[in-house]
Every structure is written in C-alpha cells, then in structure tokens.
C-alpha cells in the first residue's frame, strides 16, 4: 500500500482529530477574550481609575521622559554585561573550591562555603548599601572616588555569585558517581576527574537554571539606583519628580520587561530542547 492511501479507519480518526483541534482552538480564543473583557471592565469601573490613568499612563509624559530613561537603561545594560561575566567566573571558582579535597586547601574550601552562606543569606539591598557606602567610607588612599555603578556591579557580583555557585554545585552533584568512578579507574586523579569529566557535563545540565538567574539579574541591575547611579530607574525617578507624574516608572518597567522577554524565551527553548533529548519523543 502506498503512503498516500489510508484506510477507512485512519481517515475517520484523522477527521475526528482535526475537528477536535479546531474546537479547542476556538474555545481558547473565546475564553481568553471573555477573560480580558471582564478584567478590563473591572479595572475601568474602579472609583479612582481616571486619576490613576492620568498619573500612571500619560502618553505625553512618557514621550518626554523617554530619552532620559533610555539613556539610563544603557547604563543598566553595561552593568549587566560586566556583572554577568564576573558572576559566572566567581561562581565557578567558588563551586570548584567547595569540591576541593586536598587538606592543604581546606582554608579555601571553608572560605568558599562561608562566602556562599553569607551572601546567599544577605538581602541584596543590604549588600548594596554595605559595598556602596562602606567601601568609599574606608577612604583607601589612591582609590579616589569610585563610580556608584562600579560599586553596584561589585555588590551584584557578591550576591549573585553565591547563588550561581550553588547552581553549579547542584549540577556537579547531579552527575552520576559512575562517571567519576570510570574516570578514576582509568587512572585520572580526583581533580582531573572533576575538571575533565564531571564539570563539563554539569555545566551543560545547569544552563536553564543559570538563564533563570540571569533574568533575575537583569531586573536587579535596576537596584544600583539606590547608590545614586543614574540608570533607567533613577532616570525615571528624576522625570517623575519633574513632571509630578508616575508614568516614567511604567516606562522603565516596560523597558525591563522588553529586555527580559528574549532571555525568557531562550531559556524555555533551551529547557525544552534538553527535555526532548532526555526523553526521546514522548509527549507526556
């Protein structure tokens, strides 16, 4: 029988499948529209809606605030670039340090563990204050005045590298011990087996959770504004004060959302691709 000829039974099955699919798409559209209309009606019928609309969603203010907020966003992007690279490097070193076994290196291992405990537990805003106002407060000779965005980058690195180190460690622990056993039985040393066999597999496994932390970092770069760096949030704040209108905040928020969407989609795509590789075809 050729490929194009199908049996009566298969024909009936396919017709049924197509009709089911059409029906479920239609239901989804109607349900979404109904939900949106209800939500919109509820919002516009609140007593203060017209006031909120003028103070948060004012088009003219948005247009006027646009250049300064966008300019600030450029600073956020630069901080994000530097912070994410330094977070990866520091976190990887920390995760490796926690796997050390040589007794001479015990202080390094203990330091890494203490560092992770400390900065994973400290709220980012407190680390920001401590670094942002503490380091300049030391009045170290020859250091001069350090720009707030640099201090912010340092604080972000301190906090996020502790998180990301734990992600790397989870990845290292997820690699089955038989891989290390095989490496050791071939004569590789402990550190060679970690570096050449365990780590490369671990890093691949933790890409989706790493991307997740990257999305979180994308938003948190906005916190450097508390140190006085004129980023998107601070820029918006200035415009808010100028126009006595909150719309610039909404504008800055939108910028951050636009920044996050590609990363979020990329994360989903990577995770889906890895899941597909691992379960080979099943859709359950």
């Amino acid at each position: 029988m050729s490929q194009s000829e199908i049996s009566e039974a298969q024909h009936a099955r396919e017709t049924w499948r197509v009709s089911r699919k059409r029906r479920s798409t239609l239901t989804a559209i109607v349900s979404t529209l109904a939900f949106a209309v209800v939500a919109w009606l509820l919002l516009v019928n609140t007593p203060g809606w017209s006031r909120v609309q003028t103070s948060f969603f004012d088009w003219d203010t948005a247009v006027k605030a646009f250049p300064r907020v966008l300019d600030g966003l450029w600073l956020n992007l630069r901080v994000l670039a530097f912070a994410s690279i330094s977070v990866l490097v520091v976190a990887l070193l920390l995760a490796l340090a926690t796997t050390l076994r040589n007794p001479v290196l015990t202080p390094i291992r203990l330091f890494a563990k203490g560092y992770i405990d400390l900065f994973r537990g400290t709220p980012l805003i407190i680390t920001l204050y401590l670094v942002g106002f503490g380091i300049p407060g030391l009045r170290i000779e020859g250091l001069g005045r350090i720009a707030p965005e640099i201090l912010g980058t340092i604080a972000l690195t301190l906090t996020y590298s502790a998180y990301v180190a734990e992600v790397f460690r989870a990845g290292i622990e997820s690699i089955h011990p038989s891989q290390r056993l095989a490496a050791r039985s071939l004569g590789l040393s402990y550190s060679q087996s970690v570096r050449l066999v365990v780590l490369p597999q671990a890093v691949r496994k933790v890409v989706p959770p790493l991307m997740n932390d990257f999305v979180a970092l994308q938003k948190d770069v906005g916190l450097i504004s508390v140190l006085g760096a004129v980023d998107a949030v601070r820029g918006a704040q200035i415009e808010v004060a100028h126009f006595a209108n909150f719309t610039p905040y909404i504008l800055a928020g939108l910028f951050f959302v636009l920044l996050a969407i590609p990363t979020v989609r990329l994360t989903d795509w990577l995770a889906a691709r890895m899941a597909k590789r691992e379960q080979m075809g099943t859709v359950l």
Binding site: A182, S185, L186, V197, P200
Partner: protein, 249 residues
C-alpha cells in the same frame, strides 16, 4: 594462542577482606593471576565478585589483605593509587562512557591526560583500537547514539588502549541481549589471542568454559571451589558448586 608465563604471577592477592559496615562481603579471598592468563570469577549475585574486582583496582578500600602487581605491593600505605589504576583497567556492566565526549575522545582521554601522550599519538592509538572493533567510522559519535554492544566494546577498548598489565571485566555482558553480548565476547576472545591478562566476573558460564584458563567460584565471600576450566565444569566437587551450576545452566 599465547602461552601463559608461569614464572611469576602478574597479580597476587592474599586474604582479601571487605566489610561494608557490619556486613562482610569478602571474607579472605586469595587470587593468583599469571601473565596471559584469563581467570573467570563466577557466583550468584551478591557473592562478592564485583567487590573483589573493585578491591583489586583500589577503587574500594580494603578491610584487610595485601595485593601485589608484578611483585610490587600495591596495597601498601602511601602508594600512588592513580598510577596503579592506570595499570589495571576496570570495565563496568553499565559501560560508563563519558557522555559529553565522542567515543574517540573517550578512548583518548586517559592516553593524553594520564599517559601524557601527544594528541596525534593518542588519536592514532585510539583510532587503531576503534578500527579493530569496527567502530572507526563512528569515532566522532557520542555514546548515546551507539548500541549497548558498541558502547561496551568502546569501554573495553578505552581500558585496553592504555596497555594495562591487567584487565578487570565486571559482568560486561550482563546488560546486553545475546546478539550484542556476542560482539563483546568476540572482542574478549580477540584480546586473549593478543595475550591480555584478564580477570572477569561473569554470568556467561559457557563463555567462561570456552575462554577462561582458571575458574573461581565465589560463594558468600569465600572461594568455594576453583580449578582449570575444563575440569571445573566437568567435575565440580563442592556441593555448592554443583548446585550453582545446575541452577544456572
């Protein structure tokens, strides 16, 4: 067929004991293996076969006993265990190929990292071995794209390429169907012809009878009976051995 060199043992193990907490898995096992010899360890699951092999490769710490490789005690305190392991190959039931490396890179890894061979030389050796098992055209494939038999043959070749003094095979065909285990057994026959010294734990009794020179029956952590393969299978003396052989065959 190569001759066995009886002048001095390749491996000598005396009174090997291994406890996991309170449980005694090995209760004093002796073993002598001569260059070119193939020794088969048989026995039911849990009899201590795998533990014995792991002790010999030093991936398991001994609870008592001593081991010599070519007259050199490898169980002495302070020995460089990584160096010893590089001289004693161990192959597992579950292959354990490195998932992030192609099969060529799998075979090359210890050649370059442990034996410090140049990349060119390691590639030559590795490709030579892959060619011998008919997988040279798949050299750049990753393990998950290969059949179980192909993976296991690669795992054996990964160990043999280091030219170890002794090769330990831990039930290398147990995860394979008869056709695929046939490929693996073929490779072991091939290694025997090449003079590789092998200790193998196995459930394939007919293969043990065919290829092994010496057979050891482990039962509850001790050697219940051992002997030359033909004699061992034809005339088992111990009651436990007879029971095991009738149960399995």
């Amino acid at each position: 067929m190569t001759q066995i060199d009886w002048s001095k043992p390749r491996l000598l193990a005396k009174n090997i004991r291994k406890n996991f907490d309170e449980r005694q898995v090995l209760k004093g096992v002796d073993l002598e293996v001569y260059p070119g010899q193939i020794v088969a360890l048989i026995g039911s699951s849990g009899s201590g076969k795998s533990t014995m092999l792991r002790c010999l490769n030093l991936v398991e710490e001994l609870s008592d006993g001593q081991i010599w490789l070519d007259g050199d005690e490898i169980s002495r305190p302070g020995i460089n265990e990584d160096e010893v392991r590089a001289n004693i190959g161990l192959v597992f039931q579950s292959y354990n190929l490195f998932a992030h490396l192609s099969i060529l890179e799998n075979v090359k890894l210890a050649l370059t990292v442990v034996q410090k061979k140049s990349d060119k030389e390691a590639t030559e050796i590795a490709l030579g071995w892959l060619d011998r098992i008919g997988l040279a055209d798949k050299a750049n494939q990753y393990p998950d794209k290969l059949s179980g038999g192909q993976q296991q043959r690669t795992a054996i070749v990964r160990a043999v390429a280091l030219n170890p003094k002794l090769l330990l095979l831990d039930e290398v065909t147990s995860a394979l169907d008869p056709e695929l285990s046939g490929e693996v057994l073929e490779l072991i026959r091939d290694l025997k012809v090449g003079g590789t010294t092998i200790v193998m734990a196995t459930h394939e009794l007919s293969f043990a009878r065919e290829v092994a020179d010496w057979v050891i029956f482990l039962d509850q952590g001790v050697i219940a009976e051992e002997g030359e393969a033909a004699e061992f299978f034809a005339h088992p003396k111990n009651a436990r051995t007879k029971e095991f052989l009738t149960r399995v065959i």
